[in-house]
Assembly symmetry: none
Homo-oligomer: 160 residues x 2
Amino acid sequence: MTKFRGVYPTTIDAKGRTSLPSKFREVMVESFQDDRFFLTNSSPTDLGNGNFSSGLLIFPYNSFSKFEEDFQNSKGLTSAQRESIVNIIINPAVELSVDKLGRFLVPPHLRKSAALDREILFVAAMDKIKIWSLAEWDKVLAQNIRNFPSGTEAAAELGL
Amino acid sequence: MTKFRGVYPTTIDAKGRTSLPSKFREVMVESFQDDRFFLTNSSPTDLGNGNFSSGLLIFPYNSFSKFEEDFQNSKGLTSAQRESIVNIIINPAVELSVDKLGRFLVPPHLRKSAALDREILFVAAMDKIKIWSLAEWDKVLAQNIRNFPSGTEAAAELGL
DNA sequence: TAAATGTGGAAAAATGTGGTAAATGGTGGC
DNA sequence: GCCACCATTTACCACATTTTTCCACATTTA
């Protein structure tokens, strides 16, 4: 399965313009056969102190179609949980593609909910790409380090 | 099972270039049949004082594929622990190979998280290779010395 | 001494950034 | 209700910076 790889810092300017890192652009076109994508909110991430952090998520065009289909067919979610996914992920999504310089415009509602302002990070996430404010991502990583399963049997089996 | 062996000091220059020790290059090509590899963060190492140290990890290409597969199939990790492994090890990983002079470029995000600056160490780690800042490695070793099972029965049985 | 390995710098290419101009849409006045 | 003007958004262009590639020299090893 094709995957995005790596973490790339960049900026978002006052107009909300940002450039998709060229490594990701390559993968998008070569592996997903399409330079169109959907941009929406990510799932809220628990920071462990009662607060949640969230960023944005880029779905290559076909990944989003598949996601919507999977969501329709999914069982085991309460109606409140379904509404939450609809309101946070599905409805705010917008379809975009990069301009000929590799940039795209983040709509104001998404820029606001992810608190994107100047210093941001593009982070590979399997068949998707996360966009996070640099400051918020640091908080997520700090929590990840605390949660790392050092010394557990499961980790030992993975060779970590 | 093929193993890397030894510890090699070297440098990383201002552009993030460093050369894979030739002994490791030999093993990579002869034993792993591939000069491609994945570079990512290592597990955070507990220094015993509430702080964590971390370096980088080179996985020969096939070792990384196997690791990802094992991770998918693994049981016994909480969702927070899984997220931690994804955010620290899997997503930041990049695929690289050495240039014709035996060097490779450490991407900025990895250089930063391992605090690599000038004096570094390549340390054999079974089927992987660790890269550590010299200063941080000293702290890890100091902690290892404190943890050494001197005078225990288990150590005696090992003839240590 | 010769070969191999490692190191640094310079040139070329690619990428990213900011500003400017054009176009679009919305608002208010006539 | 139509037209004109203003503001905001979108597209374009040029420059600056970063990244990559290449080459030459220094240093170590056999």
